[in-house]
C-alpha cells in the first residue's frame, strides 16, 4: 500500500514536468515525422499522404548532401579547434605560475563566448566584407594583392570563413571547461612526474591527457552534436549562399520550408537531424555511464 502511495506521489510530483516534456518535446517530434510523410500546401491547408516520397526526394537532393557535408566539415574542424586546440591552450594557461595572468588569460579567451552568435556573425560579416572589411585591409598591408578575397561571397571560401567565426566564438568556452578539468588533477601527480625527470611535454601526455580523457570524450560528443545543430551563424553571414554552397542541414530545412514552401521536405530534413543528434546523444549517455577515471 505504502509503495503504491509512494509511486502515486512520485508520479504526481513529476507530472507537470512530464506533461510539459510531452507537449513541447515529444509531441512536436511525432508531429514532425507525420509532416514528413505529407505533401502540404500551407495556403489551402490541404495535406496529402505521400509516404516516404519526401525522403526519396531528400536523398536525391544535391543541396541536402552539400549541407550534410558542410555539417561534417563543421564537426571535424570544431573537434580539431574546440577540443584538441582548446585542451592544448588550457594546458598552457594552467602551466603559467602567475595566477593573475591565468585569470586574465581565461577571461580574454572566454569573452567571445559571451557574445551572441548573431552579433558575432554580423561582426565577422563586416570583418570579411570585401571593400571595407578589416581582414582584407590587414592582409593587404602584409602581402599586397595576395589574399584579397570576398570571403563570404565565393563558394571556395565562404563555408570555411563561417566555420572560422564559429571556432573563434566557441573556443574560449571549451578552454575554460578543460582548465577546470586540469585543475582537478592533484598537483602531487605532476610533482612526482617532474621529480622523475619528465618535462612539460611529457607531463602533458603522461599525466594531463589521460586524466582529462573523460572531459575530452564528452567534449568531442557535445561538439559534434552541436555541429549538426548549426543555424544562426550561417543564416546571419551567408543565408546558405552563394549558390547554396554554405547550407547546413538546419538552414536547408528552413529554406525548404519557408522559401520553397516544401514543408514535407523540410520535415524530412528535421527527422534526419533528429536521428543524427539522437545517435550522438545515445553515445554521450553511454560514454558518461562508463567507469570514471579515479585517482
Amino acid at each position: 500500500m505504502r509503495t503504491l502511495y509512494r509511486r502515486a506521489a512520485g508520479l504526481a510530483w513529476t507530472a507537470p514536468a512530464l506533461v510539459l516534456l510531452a507537449v513541447f518535446v515529444y509531441l512536436p517530434l511525432v508531429q514532425n515525422f507525420g509532416y514528413s510523410t505529407l505533401t502540404w500546401d500551407i495556403y489551402s491547408g490541404s495535406q496529402e499522404f505521400a509516404g516516404l516520397d519526401n525522403y526519396r526526394d531528400l536523398f536525391a537532393d544535391p543541396v541536402f548532401w552539400t549541407s550534410f557535408t558542410n555539417n561534417l566539415w563543421y564537426a571535424l574542424l570544431s573537434v580539431v579547434f574546440q577540443v584538441f586546440g582548446a585542451l592544448l591552450l588550457a594546458a598552457l594557461v594552467e602551466s603559467i605560475r602567475s595566477t593573475r595572468w591565468q585569470r586574465a588569460l581565461r577571461t580574454i579567451y572566454f569573452i567571445p563566448s559571451a557574445i551572441s552568435l548573431t552579433v558575432a556573425g554580423l561582426l565577422f560579416y563586416f570583418i570579411y566584407e570585401p571593400n571595407l572589411g578589416l581582414l582584407n585591409h590587414a592582409l593587404e598591408a602584409v602581402a599586397p594583392g595576395t589574399f584579397d578575397h570576398a570571403w563570404l561571397g565565393q563558394e571556395s571560401t565562404a563555408m570555411t570563413a563561417v566555420i572560422a567565426m564559429s571556432q573563434w566564438q566557441g573556443f574560449g568556452y571549451s578552454t575554460l571547461l578543460f582548465a577546470v578539468a586540469i585543475q582537478r588533477i592533484p598537483a602531487e601527480l605532476h610533482e612526482a612526474a617532474a621529480l622523475d625527470g619528465a618535462g612539460p611535454v611529457r607531463r602533458f601526455f603522461r599525466v594531463t591527457l589521460p586524466l582529462v580523457r573523460e572531459m575530452t570524450g564528452l567534449m568531442v560528443l557535445v561538439t559534434v552534436s552541436g555541429a549538426f545543430q548549426v543555424f544562426n551563424e550561417v543564416m546571419v553571414m551567408t543565408s546558405g549562399g552563394p549558390d547554396n554552397s554554405t547550407h547546413v542541414l538546419g538552414t536547408w530545412l528552413y529554406r525548404s520550408g519557408f522559401v520553397r514552401n516544401d514543408f514535407g521536405h523540410a520535415a524530412a530534413i528535421g527527422t534526419v537531424i533528429f536521428v543524427i543528434t539522437l545517435t550522438i546523444a545515445m553515445a554521450q549517455l553511454w560514454f558518461t555511464r562508463r567507469r570514471r577515471v579515479e585517482w
Binding site: L27, I42, G45, S46, Q47, Y125, E155, G257, F258
Partner: protein
Amino acid sequence: MRARALTRSAALLGASALVLTGCFAGPAKGPAADVTAKPEYSGTLSILTKFAGEPLEPYFEDLAAAYEREHPKVDVELIQETDQSIKDKTKTLTASDALPDIYFTWTGNWAENFIRGGRAADLTEVIGPGTAWGATFSEPALSAFAHDGRYYGVPLYNNGKFMGYNKAAFDKAGVEVPKTFEELIAACPDLREAGYEPIAFGNKDGWPALHYLQQLFAHNVPADVRESDYDPETATWDDPGYPIALEQFRTLVSRCTDTGRGTNGVLYTSAQEAFGQGRAAMYYQEILEFDNTTSGGALEPDDLGIFPLPGAAEAKGDPRIVEGAPEGYFVNARSPRAALAVDFMKFVTSAAHAKTLSAPPYGQPSTVVGAVTPQTSSKAVQEGIDLVNKAPRLAGWLDMVTAPEVADAWLAGGEALISGSKSPEQVMDSVRRASDSAK
C-alpha cells in the same frame, strides 16, 4: 522483449498514431469574412507591415495612433517586418493558421498563393470597379491584385526599378546617359577613371541580382514567352534570349562593379550607401529607395538622376518594359474583424495619408490617384512613377512571379553567375529542373 516493455511500446505506438491522425487534419476553416458589413469599432486589429526600420516605421505607427484616437475602443496591433523578414514571417503565420487581420503582399505568384488558398478576402464589393473606394486607385494597380475577375488586394504604393546615377559624377567623367546596354558598359571605364566605382552592387541577399536579370529578360525575351514561363505547367525556359541576358549580366558585373566576383559578399545597403556617399556613380534601385539614397549622404536630391536599365541594340524583347509592380495588403479571409480591417485600410489610403506616404522621408509613391505630385514627392520619385505609368507593360519581380522552387533556383543561379561557378547554360539547366519539379 519483456511483456512490460512490449506493452509500453504498443501504447507509445498507439498514442503516436492518434496524434498523427489528429494533428494533420489541416487548419480549421472559419466563416468567410463579410467585408461589406458595418464595422464594429472595438477590439484588437492586427496588421503585418513591411515597414520595419527607419525611415518607414513611423508611417503605420502614426496611422495606428490616429485611428485609435478616432475610435478609442479599437486597439491596432502592429507587426512591422523588413523586406527580407516578412517573407518568412508571413509563411510561418500562414502555416500555423495565425495570419493577422491585414497583411502585406506582393503581386504575382506570391499573391495568387494566398488567393487560391482562400486566405485573402474577396474585396470586389468594396474596392472593385464602380465602387467609390476603387475609383480612388489607378486601374493597373487594382488589377495587379485581381484574380479571375475578382479583386483581392488594397494597393498601397507603386514601385519600379531604375538605374540611379550621380549627375555630378557623369559630368566629371564626361559621360552621357546611356541609351543602350553597350553604351552603359562603355561608360564604366570613364567613370572609373574619374574616381568612381561605376556601379555599386551588393548581392548578399540574392534578390538584387534577380532585379537585373528580370529587366534584362524583358529586353531579350518576348513578353508572352516570359509570362508563359512563369507557370510551371507551360514553362519551357528555352528562349535564346535568357542566356543572352545572363551573359549581359555577367558583363555588367565584371566590367562595371569594383567587387566583381565578390559581389555576393556585399550587402545591398552597403552598395546603396556607396552611391549615397558619392563613392559610386550608379546604383540600380527601386523607386522606394530614391529618397533614402539622398537623405543625409553626399548625394543631393538634385544630383540624383534616373534612367531605365537600357537594352542591347539587338534585343528581341521590348526595351520599353519597366520592371516593377505595386505592393499592397490583403484582408484575412478568416478574420472576424474583416469589416473593421477594410475601414482601417480606407483610412490608410485616404488622400491625405497617401500624400504623406508619397512625400519624403517615406518616398513611397502611393497608388491613390493624384497623390504623387511635384508638390508632394521628390523629383526622382515623380519621374520614376511617370516612367512606370508610361510603360506599355510591367515585369514583376522574378522571385515573386515564379513558383518558389523556380525563384530559389534563380536566386542560386544569380549568385553562381556572379561568383563564376556556373555558366549561363548551367543556370538555365538548374532553372528548368526546378520548373519541372514544380509541375
